[in-house]
Structure formats: C-alpha cells, structure tokens
C-alpha cells in the first residue's frame, strides 16, 4: 500500500506541519462519487500520502450529490468530494438542505465534456454542413440550426442531461448552448441523470445528450451511441470542477488535521499529474470499489486521447485533466464568484453584494496557503478571467469578479426576470 518508490520527494521542501515522533493516525471519513476527478483523494489513500501525514482516510462511495451533501451536513462524513458549486450554493442557502460548507482544496481542472446522441449529431451535420473537426462553438451553432428545424417541423425539443442543479455541468452545458444562441430553459429540456447512467440513457433514447465528467463521455462514444461535441477546455479551460468540501466549524476545531490533509492532497495531486504514474493510477481507479469502468478507457482519458465517436474520429486534448499544475488546487474566490454569476444568470439566485461576499467566502485559499506556503501567489484570487491567451472563454468574454452584474447583463441569453423555468415539468 505504501509504495515509497513511486512517491515523488517533493513534500520535503514544503511547510508541512511538524509531526512529533510517532504520528498518531487520525481517522477521517470521506465521501466520494465514482468519477475520475476523485483521483487525488483516492491516490492520497492508496499511495500512502495521507498515511504519511498521520491521517487514515476511510473512503465511502456514494450514489448521489444530495447524499454527499446530507452526510457531510449530518457529520457522517468529515469531508467529501464535491461539485465546486455545492459549497457556493450552501453559502447562499440554495438547495433543499443548505448547511455551511467550504473548500480549502480544489481537486484539479478538466474532465467534463458534452456528448450528443449520434442521431442528433448526424442531423447537425446534415442541416449545418458540419465538418468532422468542427469547434465547440460551431457545434453549438449547428445544434441551434437543428433546433430551429425541429421547431418548424413541430417536433418536440431534445432532452439534455446534466448531473445536479448546482454543478459545473449544468453551468457549462448552459454556457455552451447559450453561446450557440440556444436558450436552455426554453429551447431544450434540461434534466438530471446520474453520471453512471448517462450512456445507457442516451442509448435508450431517454435523453439526446449530456454534460458529465470523465470517463462517462468516452464510455458513450466508444459504445457508438454518442458524439463528443465540446470539452470543458473549450468552454473555459480553468473553470473550477470538483473540490474537497468540509464543514467550517469542523475545520475550525481540527485545524491541524485540515493542514495535514492539504499537504497529503498536494502530494497526491503532484503524483497524479505525472504521466509516468498514469498507468498505475488507471489500475487503481478502474477497481470496482472506485469507478468500476474499463481500465483502457481510463488510461485513454488520463492521456486526453479522445474517441469522439465509434467511427475512429479522435482528438487529443492537452491537459484534459490537470491535477496540480498552474495552481489547479488553489480554491480561488474568483472561481466561486464566476459560479455565483452563472447562478444569477440562470435565475437560481439574485445578485447582491452580500450574496457575492457569501459566495466568495466558500473558497478558502487562506487555508491552502497556511498549509503549503505562498504557492502560486495571490494573483489569481480576484483577477479578471478570460484575458490570458491560453485561458479564454468560448464566447471571448472577460469575467471581472468586481463587476458581476454587468457581466451577467452582457449575456444575450439568460433567464428572464421572473424565470422561464418549468420546461422540465413536461416529462
């Protein structure tokens, strides 16, 4: 279990909390959902990084984000693998069981993609003359053209799946649709589908597309039931994804444990980022107790080698997963504020400065830096996003965390004042 040889000796120069003599193992329970972005947490346990910091983490696999949220709230978990919008929603009192939640560590970037049924994609090719190497934006515009065609013919709009109302998938899917001129609340029907069921739901025709994390897009494309039309990198490369969530009062009462945990997660994140370790990581993740998916697909996904469909169209996405580099583990308040801006955009909440402050406070870079020193600097915390050449939004917008209202109002497609909502009620 504790494989010294594979552990990069990078933590020795970090400001790790001192361990006096024999470390006393502290037992923590952590919930997770079977997804590849739980890699850092899983590697921290399997590769002994947590053990080295005196932590014994019991990983508990769960089936829904609502369960994860409730079990954290009810103290059955000390921490959990969570969607980055979950702590933000909790801070704003949104959802059916909001309970104070914050994150001191981000579990990396990337991993999501949007997949449409092969049937729908073929129609996009026919209607819009789409090439095999069309960009994410061209794909979105082609879908808009198909939707117009469907309306003309009196066909019912397609049903699109995502994972949770407060998820990166919901906001990224909506961002992509809206960039193509599609109103997600009026022109299509958005529903929630649990990630492991997406591929089957697509094949059965229960949904016509979905936005979900790895490896489920590739599972659908390899089976020939879907075509990947956009990756998270196409929408906003440094968009937040999953985080480690915890209760603020628990973190307060267990500061030393939290700092050790961050050190362990940092070491695990560095290990996961090394391409040389990916074969090993894939073996671990493929196990039934973790993701329970074919090891070959997991290996391909880690390498960013994408099968777009079953016909052999491929695409390599550099840094499809970033587990550590470029400050990927820093929970930046500007990311929390971007999530907040999308919540406002789609009518989940209203803008107020007080709400913005509450949203930003859910991301705690101060704890990250207290454990690891001033890695990455403060520059990214509240700086505008989308202006660096390798980190642009698909519609070319710049997000200024200091001007959220103006940003939201600048979108041509957004929720109407009183909410457009219940198209999903037509099921």
């Amino acid at each position: 279990m504790y494989r010294m040889t594979n552990v990069p000796d990078s933590s020795s120069n970090l400001a790790a909390p001192a361990l006096g003599g024999e470390p006393q193992q502290k037992i923590l329970r952590a919930g997770f959902i079977p997804l590849m972005d739980a890699s850092i947490l899983i590697a921290a346990v399997e590769m002994g990084f947590a053990w080295r910091e005196g932590l014994s983490i019991e990983l508990v696999r769960d089936v829904s984000w609502a369960n994860v949220r409730d079990r954290l709230a009810f103290r059955q978990f000390d921490m959990a693998h969570m969607l980055s919008p979950m702590p933000v929603a909790a801070s704003l009192g949104l959802g059916s069981n909001p309970s104070p939640t914050m994150t001191p560590f981000s579990l990396g970037r990337g991993g999501n993609a949007i997949t449409l049924s092969t049937r729908l994609f073929e129609r996009m090719q026919a209607v819009a003359g789409l090439g095999e190497d069309a960009s994410a934006l061209e794909n979105a515009r082609a879908l808009a053209a198909v939707l117009a065609d469907m309306r003309d013919r009196g066909e019912s709009p397609p049903t699109l799946g995502m994972t949770y109302p407060f998820s990166s998938h919901n906001y990224e899917f909506r961002y992509w649709l809206a960039a193509g001129g599609i109103n997600p609340d009026r022109d299509v029907k958005m529903v929630v589908v649990p990630p492991p069921l997406t591929s089957d739901a697509l094949e059965a025709g229960a949904i016509d597309g979905f936005c979900v994390g790895a490896p489920w897009n590739m599972v659908a494309s390899e089976r020939g039931v879907g075509r990947i039309v956009a990756a998270k990198q196409d929408i906003w490369p440094s968009a937040p994804e999953k985080v480690i969530g915890m209760r603020p009062e628990w973190a307060e009462a267990n500061t030393d444990t939290v700092l050790r945990l961050i050190v362990a997660l940092d070491a695990a994140a560095r290990w996961c980022d090394e391409a040389a370790n990916h074969a090993h990581l894939a073996e671990i993740l493929a196990a039934d107790r973790y993701i329970a998916a074919p090891v070959e697909i997991i290996r391909q996904v880690l390498a960013g080698r994408f099968s777009l469909d079953a016909k052999g169209n491929r695409r390599v996405i550099r840094n499809y997963f970033t587990f550590h580099q470029h400050g990927a583990n820093i929970p930046q308040p500007r990311q929390a504020l971007w999530i907040f801006s999308q919540m406002v955009r789609w009518g989940q909440t209203r803008f107020s400065q007080q709400a913005a402050d509450a949203a930003a406070s859910a991301f705690r870079p101060d704890l990250y830096r207290a454990a690891l020193g001033q890695l990455g600097g403060h520059d990214g915390d509240l700086a505008p996003a989308g202006s660096e050449p390798d980190d642009v939004f698909m519609d070319g917008k710049i997000f200024d965390p200091a001007a959220i209202e103006a940003y939201v109002n600048s979108f041509a497609v957004r929720a109407e004042e009183n909410g457009t909502l219940p198209s999903a009620l037509e099921t």
């Binding site: 609502a66 929630v192 589908v193 649990p194």
Partner: protein, 204 residues
C-alpha cells in the same frame, strides 16, 4: 380533551405522502405500514419517469425516497424548478435530533418535507418509514443467509461425495473426516468442504 386529541390525530393523518422506491417489495412494506397507521393519502411509485407531473398534481407534504436511489439528484433539480413544494427540506425536520438522523441513514431512508410542517406531525411518519426499511433489510439479510446456507450444504455434499469416491469411505466416515479436519484447523465445515472441492478440481 378527547375532541382536541381527535383533531390533532386527524391533522396528522391528513398528510399526503409520496413513496418513491424502485424496489416494489420494500415499497409495499412501507405502504402497508403507513396504511396500518391510518394514513390513507399514500401514493407509491416505482420509477421516477413522469415524477415531475405527479408531484405537481399530488402536492405531497412528505416524500420518502430510498437513500441509495441515485435519482435523488433529479429530485433536487425538480425542487429548483417547481413551486408546488415551496421549499422542501431534505431528510429531516429536526436537525438536532441526531438519533433520528442516524437511524434513518442506517436504514437507508431519505425524506423531503414541505417547509413549515410541524415536526410532531412528520416524526411518526419518518419513524414508521425507518422501521419498515429495517424490516425489509432484515428480510433481505435472512434471504441472503438462507441462500448461502443452501449453497454451503451443496458444497458439503459434493466434498463428501469426492472423499467417498477417492478414499473409499462411507458417507458417515466422509462427513466425520470433514468435521474432524474443520475442528483441527479451527475452520468452518463449509470452508474445509470448499477446499476439498477446489483441490479436487485441480487434481482430477
């Protein structure tokens, strides 16, 4: 006094309850429990397809859903969209009641309750759901144990047969040999029998 008590009881039994459970057996057990307790406005569904429309029409006060049902996340989405359950509270009315919370999670129950419903009205329903989930869990366990007992008997029979053939033993002697070995090795009879069957499979 009596009249007052009646009114409270009526109010309590007046609640509309929706049970969502993909397991038809468990759903029937819960349904029966609620009806025995005097609840008559109980609706049971086995799948979430079309659930939005149902909730819209039914306007349930309490929704009980199995905690292992991944479609809980779909319910969360629904509550974002629908105003019919104004602000449903997940799981429990009383967050300070840790014993109830633990009992429910252990049993595998999660529930949504309309905001503003008094906890005295909901607690008996949750307690009922928890105890019925536990009844179901016990049934499942007993069934699994019965199955494995049956499997074990089959393995012991096969091991006995192998020993009888290979060592020319009577049935009685073969069984005694198995039992004696199990006692000497401090193992279960079924485990020794399994080793005999496995070894025979490799040697013959």
């Amino acid at each position: 006094m009596l009249r007052c008590g009646m009114v409270v009881a009526m109010n309590h039994l007046d609640l509309t309850i929706l049970v969502i459970d993909e397991n038809a057996v468990r759903a029937a057990i819960i349904d029966e429990g609620l009806r025995e307790a005097g609840h008559h406005r109980v609706t049971v569904v086995h799948e979430v397809h079309g659930i939005a429309r149902l909730i819209e029409n039914l306007k349930p006060d309490v929704i009980i859903i199995d905690i292992e049902n991944p479609n809980r996340d779909m319910m969360e989405h629904l509550f974002q969209l629908t105003r019919s359950i104004s602000r449903p509270i997940a799981m429990f009315v009383d967050r300070s009641d840790t014993a109830s919370i633990e009992a429910a999670v252990d049993a595998g129950v999660s529930a949504y309750i309309v905001d503003g419903l008094r906890k005295e009205r909901v607690k008996p329903i949750l307690d009922m759901a928890v105890s019925r989930f536990n009844v179901f869990n016990r049934l499942q366990r007993e069934l699994a144990e019965a199955r494995s007992a049956l499997e074990e008997r089959k393995v012991i029979e096969r091991a006995k047969g192998i020993l009888m053939r290979m060592r020319n033993l009577s049935e009685e002697e073969a069984f005694t040999l198995l039992r004696q070995t199990a006692m000497n090795e401090k193992k279960r009879l079924a485990d020794i029998a399994q080793s005999v069957v496995t070894a025979a499979g490799m040697l013959l």
